[in-house]
């Protein structure tokens, strides 16, 4: 598609960039070839792409489960399946989406591939540990598949609340073990990223020269490292309860079922920030590039990422206002919840202000980022309804909550994931995709998304609980429209994936930065060579300085040239 992008800041006269051998042709370690070059690699780029294959597989599985759930709910009574099947489906949908897609998607794929490049180095600090993390992820997946057989899939919801999760006869144990192993994978990735950022930054790059995507991964990695052990212990305790009847959560033995909820959310609320922070990092990269203008308030964004990581670890019990815990706890946790809302608001304001007096080029990644800002804002603002104690009581555990967290996790992280795919696709594969199809797919997905989740806000306020196989007849219209929205959204997502896949066949080949990025990963060819850079990159004084990019773009054609 020549001519799609004007004023490309390329330097195609530079043969060094065009004639480098990409990492696809250079196995690492060099003794492995064929499939072994992938499965035994320690190259962070190959590991990132192996995560991509596995994560997209699970994402598609969970989308299909979601479609089945919404189809069942489109009319009152039994539509497709019995209650047992429905309960298993929403549990699997939640477990897969959370543990196999949303948590690892951006850090494991884009973090692995890009973090070392953004800080001008050739790999993560522990390359072998990185490969081990991938194998743990795959092992978790295999166990999750096994749990479908034997005693039947789990039917507890992804939260595994006791005492139900201890008393049910389905295969909770295996699923919990799978989540435990995925937690290990997540922790090791976090550890790797923290060490890499401390020890592997190129000479001359101080903390305030690190790109915001890497900063967001740093904040995320601390939460992964500190919060995940709590989940691991909690999941082990469930297994102990099931196998040995240890009684920790059993009131008949002096235990406390609400204690489980505290332990669970002590991880799972910080996990919400594990899920959203990397997405925020992606948006902080994309908006400056297409505005050709520095991010507004770099330091405020860095600080807000760290503030979210800290404050987000202190708000877990806002999931439990109805659990019977004390009113003092409700007061404290509601207050802290409003405190943690502020750094997220600052980020939104910074993104929008970045575009002020920029030079904005509309592209699919930017379009998806704008959709992100809109959808994430709705998710964040409806979170205020849930954070306020009185209103929380009405909408807790209803479809309002379902809509809220899908706006944050899917409208937020999911759309950031889509934006990241479209932004770094040329970096990964040296190919451009078809822009018009990408816009159509993104629009379908966003429109479907709105039709899918907006009715759920209304249903929730009217009182339709979540995890309901069947419902009162007054809720039918809303559920019917939500179902239609789900089909449109799924069609949009599949079109997006097909469009990206077709780029391997029809996409324009490129060898260098198609957008005009200022961060270091764009200083190397697309796709990059094994050691990431052809010549040692120069550390910028400030990561979002677009002077060089603007200068190149304004050079007369012919001396600089474009790809067309």
């Amino acid at each position: 598609m020549p001519g799609l992008i004007e004023n490309l800041p390329t330097n195609s006269g530079d043969n060094k960039l065009e004639n480098t051998i990409s990492f696809y042709k250079t196995p690492s370690p060099a003794r492995f070839t064929g499939i072994g070059a992938w499965l035994l690699t320690t190259d962070h780029k190959r590991i990132g792409l192996m995560y991509m294959a596995a994560i997209i597989f699970w994402f598609v599985v969970a989308i299909i489960l979601g479609i089945l759930i919404r189809t069942e709910l489109m009319s009152v009574g039994t539509t497709l399946m019995e209650a047992e099947t429905y309960n298993a489906l929403f549990t699997l949908h939640g477990v897969i989406m959370i543990f196999f897609f949303v948590i690892p998607a951006i850090p494991a794929i884009f973090g692995n591939f890009l973090l070392p490049m953004q800080i001008g180095t050739d790999d993560v600090f522990f390359p072998k540990l990185n490969l081990l993390s991938w194998y743990l992820y795959m092992l978790g997946g295999v166990l999750a598949i096994f749990s479908l057989f034997a005693d039947g899939p789990p039917d507890t919801g992804w939260t595994f609340y006791v005492p139900f999760s201890v008393s049910t006869h389905t295969n909770v144990g295996l699923t919990v073990t799978a989540a435990f192993i995925l937690g290990m994978s997540s922790m090791l990735t976090g550890l790797n990223f923290i060490t890499t950022l401390h020890r592997m930054r190129m000479k001359g790059m101080g903390w305030m020269q690190i790109p915001l995507f890497s900063w967001s991964l740093y904040a995320t990695a601390w939460v992964q490292l500190l919060a995940t052990p709590v989940l691991s212990i909690t999941l082990l305790l469930i297994i102990f309860e099931r196998l040995f009847g240890s009684g920790m959560f059993d009131p008949n033995k002096g235990g406390d079922p609400v204690l489980y909820q505290h332990l669970f959310w002590m991880y799972s609320h910080p996990a919400v920030y594990i899920m959203i922070l990397p997405g925020m990092g992606v948006i902080s990269e994309i908006i400056p590039v297409f505005s050709r203008k520095s991010i507004f308030g770099y330091k405020a964004i860095v600080l807000s990422s760290m503030a979210i990581a800290v404050a987000g670890s202190l708000v877990w019990a806002h999931h439990m206002f109805t659990s019977g815990m004390s009113d003092v706890a409700v007061f404290v946790f509601s207050f802290l919840t409003f405190v943690v809302a502020i750094p997220s608001a600052i980020k939104v304001f910074s993104w929008v202000s970045t575009m002020y007096r920029g030079s904005i080029l509309m592209t699919p990644p930017l379009f998806l980022s704008l959709c992100f800002i809109y959808l994430f804002s709705i998710g964040g603002l409806t979170g205020l309804v849930l954070g306020a104690a009185g209103t929380n009581i009405q909408v807790h555990d209803t479809h309002f909550v379902v809509a809220h967290f899908h706006f944050v996790m899917f409208g937020g992280t999911g759309f950031a994931f889509f934006a990241a795919l479209h932004f770094w696709w040329p970096k990964f594969f040296g190919r451009l995709y078809h822009f018009k199809t990408a816009y159509v797919a993104a629009t379908l997905t966003t429109m479907g998304f709105m039709l899918h989740y907006i009715p759920m806000f209304v249903l929730g306020m009217q009182g339709m609980p979540r995890r309901y196989y069947d419902y009162l007849s007054q809720f039918e219209t809303g559920n019917f429209f939500a179902g239609i929205g789900a089909y449109i959204m799924a069609a949009g997502i599949f079109l997006m994936f097909i469009n990206l896949a077709l780029s391997f066949k029809n996409g324009e080949k490129i060898s260098q930065d198609p957008w005009g990025g200022s961060t270091l990963e764009w200083q190397s060819p697309c796709p990059p060579p094994l050691h990431n850079f052809v010549a040692p990159p120069t550390a910028p004084g400030y990561p979002y300085d677009f002077k060089a990019v603007i200068q190149k773009a304004n050079e007369p054609k012919g001396t600089g040239g474009g790809p067309s």
């Binding site: 309960n87 308030g297 770099y298 009113d327 929008v352 704008l370 309804v385 954070g387 009182g463």
Partner: protein, 202 residues
């Protein structure tokens, strides 16, 4: 006797306050975003400005949202306080959740399943617990929801002012029959309630 304040009104006011401000903020953010994208598009605005930060603006947009957020917290908290402070002369009904039905026991020992009948004009206090796993008692019409936890006693109260039929649902996932674990709340005039209370059980 003090006038009883119905928490429903306070909670609805809190909804209105939070959602109203949120809609205004969302609209402002969205319009600004779209306006910038159109106004500063590359074909019309080829040379970007180099603005990196503006600490005054950043302080403003930190302080104002903080004030808004704290006001929302306070509105939310005071409406919640209304749900927790039970007026003195409340009629107390013991409520026991089990897979998959609700049992209600009246002070005189009368027991019903999946049906509560209450008189108008008197606050009702439900003392809630569970026999097996965790359930959640939810009466949307009165904005109340409390989990029924085995081994723990929780409570909720509401103030039925007019007769009517309302639905009660379970909101904490409890197994195969979760969605069917509903009950009917019938609010009737006091005389009718008295008559109902004295009736033989079913």
């Amino acid at each position: 006797m003090d006038k009883i304040i119905n928490p429903v009104e306070q909670i609805d006011a809190a909804f209105l306050y939070i959602i109203g401000i949120s809609l205004v903020l969302l609209t402002l953010i969205t319009i600004t975003m779209i306006w910038f994208v159109i106004k500063y598009r590359r074909s019309k605005h080829p040379v970007p400005a180099d603005i990196r930060d503006n600490w005054k603006l950043e302080i403003v947009w930190t302080v104002i949202p903080t004030i808004i957020a704290l006001s929302m917290f306070w509105v939310g908290w005071s409406s919640y306080a209304g749900l927790r402070n039970v007026p003195k002369n409340a009629l107390e009904i013991e409520t026991i959740a089990q897979m998959y039905s609700w049992i209600f026991v009246y002070p005189d020992g009368k027991e019903t399943e999946d049906e509560i009948v209450v008189p108008t004009g008197r606050p009702i206090r439900l003392n809630i617990t569970s026999d097996d796993v965790i359930h959640g008692l939810f009466i949307p019409a009165f904005r109340i929801k409390v989990d029924a936890v085995p081994g723990v006693n929780t409570y909720a109260w509401f103030y039925p002012e007019k007769p009517g039929r309302f639905f009660v649902q379970c909101t904490e996932f409890c197994g195969v029959g979760h969605a069917d674990m509903t009950a009917i709340l019938r609010v009737v005039p006091p005389e009718e309630f008295q008559k109902w209370l004295e009736q033989e059980e079913y």
